[in-house]
Symmetry: C2
Subunit: 287 residues, 2 copies
């Protein structure tokens, strides 16, 4: 099976869970000549997806269509994604590629490695994109524009399968596709994603609401706290499944906070300015 052949018009792509991310995947891929299959528990969601031309075919019974799907994207929360595979492993097409969107990769790989010798191939991935909203009605392929996409290959992956997911990511509008190990992924993402959410939550929770905060904020407060409007089901899972790295990052961040706090306490203007210049320099590298 060649990549070029699979990327042909006839490829059948399944999206399991047509929510914010799944709906956005479907919308983005619908622009290409693939047939898009939607799988969702909710009939309302399936109806919406069909009526709005987000998918071509929809079902709440995976066993009916999995045998026809060349690529299946599991757009589910971590535990759900693993359960879906366990429940449906026998229904997948031989040679199917199963990908996911989960923000913790060691968990996914450890949970599913018992299936790595089956006649399906897992290409684990993490599209780093989201919004403070849930559900298909908020799905929008624009969230992938210029976003990062990370693939965490296993030793069972064929190069052409990775290339296929890479191509689909690019087609969906992602800018950068990186390949790193699951451990590397979980380490860096605990910093860039989970720590930022921990900070936003703690910042908002430290607001005693003694004043009408809305009247005294600028863009900085709004920007730093937007992600405090959080999907608690998903994110509690993500925090706990990346607990070791996340706790390390919180500690590192607290150390930096203490360094700055000490400098303020000591009125050490040189140290404060040095910390500011170092942060400015580091941040300027980020596009």
């Amino acid at each position: 099976m060649e990549t070029q052949e699979k990327i042909g018009d006839k490829m059948n792509i399944g999206v399991v869970g047509i929510g914010l991310i799944g709906g956005s995947y479907a919308k983005a891929l619908k622009k290409y000549p693939y047939t898009i299959y939607g799988i969702d528990n909710s009939q309302e969601t399936l109806d919406y997806a069909l009526n709005n031309n987000i998918i071509d075919i929809g079902t709440s019974t995976p066993s009916e269509i999995l045998k026809d799907l060349d690529v299946v994207f599991l757009c589910l929360y971590p535990n759900e994604a693993v359960k879906f595979v366990r429940d449906n492993i026998n229904f997948f097409k031989r040679g199917a590629i199963i990908s996911d969107v989960v923000g913790v990769k060691r968990f996914m790989i450890n949970s599913l490695d018992i299936y790595f010798n089956d006649e399906v191939e897992f290409v684990f991935a993490h599209p780093i994109a989201g919004r403070e909203t849930i559900g298909i009605k908020h799905s929008n392929e624009a969230i992938f524009h210029n976003a990062n996409f990370v693939i965490t290959p296993t030793k069972h992956n064929k190069e052409e399968s990775i290339n296929l997911i890479k191509t689909l990511a690019k087609q969906m509008g992602f800018k950068n596709v990186s390949l790193v190990s699951d451990v590397q992924h979980d380490e860096i993402i605990s910093f860039t994603s989970q720590l930022t959410h921990v900070i936003a939550l703690s910042l908002v929770n430290s607001d005693e609401e003694k004043y009408d905060t809305s009247m005294f904020i600028g863009d900085s407060y709004k920007d730093l706290t937007r992600i405090a409007m959080i999907n608690d089901t998903l994110w509690a899972e993500l925090f706990l499944k990346n607990k070791d790295f996340l706790l390390k990052q919180i500690n590192k961040f607290e150390n930096q906070l203490d360094i700055l706090k000490d400098a303020i306490m000591a009125k050490d203007i040189n140290k404060i300015q040095e910390l500011m210049r170092s942060a400015t320099k580091k941040r300027e590298k980020i596009k």
Copy 2:
């Protein structure tokens, strides 16, 4: 002198320091029939402001024009703003209103209260708007659109003078104008503004750059760290001049961080979700 009279076409408004904020003040007020005077040490800045029709008249010698100005906005860093008043107190017009843009109000009021019996009137204000850039070339009145503006009255203020500054703030595009005491201002602003900058700085400084961070970030990291690109001269002053409140806010934030960290460490999913829901609820109130 009535507010209505002062707001007439003939009002002469001075902007001292035509940088990011001062330039934006001038641009915003230039849309009205006032005559805008610019005062700046840099001839290059004055030339740019005149050539781009940002001001009507410009000088680096305040004594020449202060006597003609009905309202003077000090768009300078805290220490500079105080120094400007000290150096030029005898040149202001009788009855002139002097306002400022400084983000710490106790300092301003304490530094200038010796002049409160003079024939000028200080209406201390804080436009909560900014950008990660400096200088007149980045000035843009759009930064005031929908932004908050805070006035910290003193017992020497006439109602009409406060109303005048309020009117000018609305004319510049600010959405909300609040009146609070200098102490209240410094307390709430240490949370919404200075603490957010402390957090952004510490977050960026805790990046060990083991990976190419750019490839693993989403909007959350970008949003939380944008303000880490900071004007270290200005912000070191702001941190130190609001040290007492800022240190309290850092401690409160660290307490919240520890509560969440402990819940993660204990794998207490209920507690984690409770903290997430409380933050979501608080943040949803912010427009």
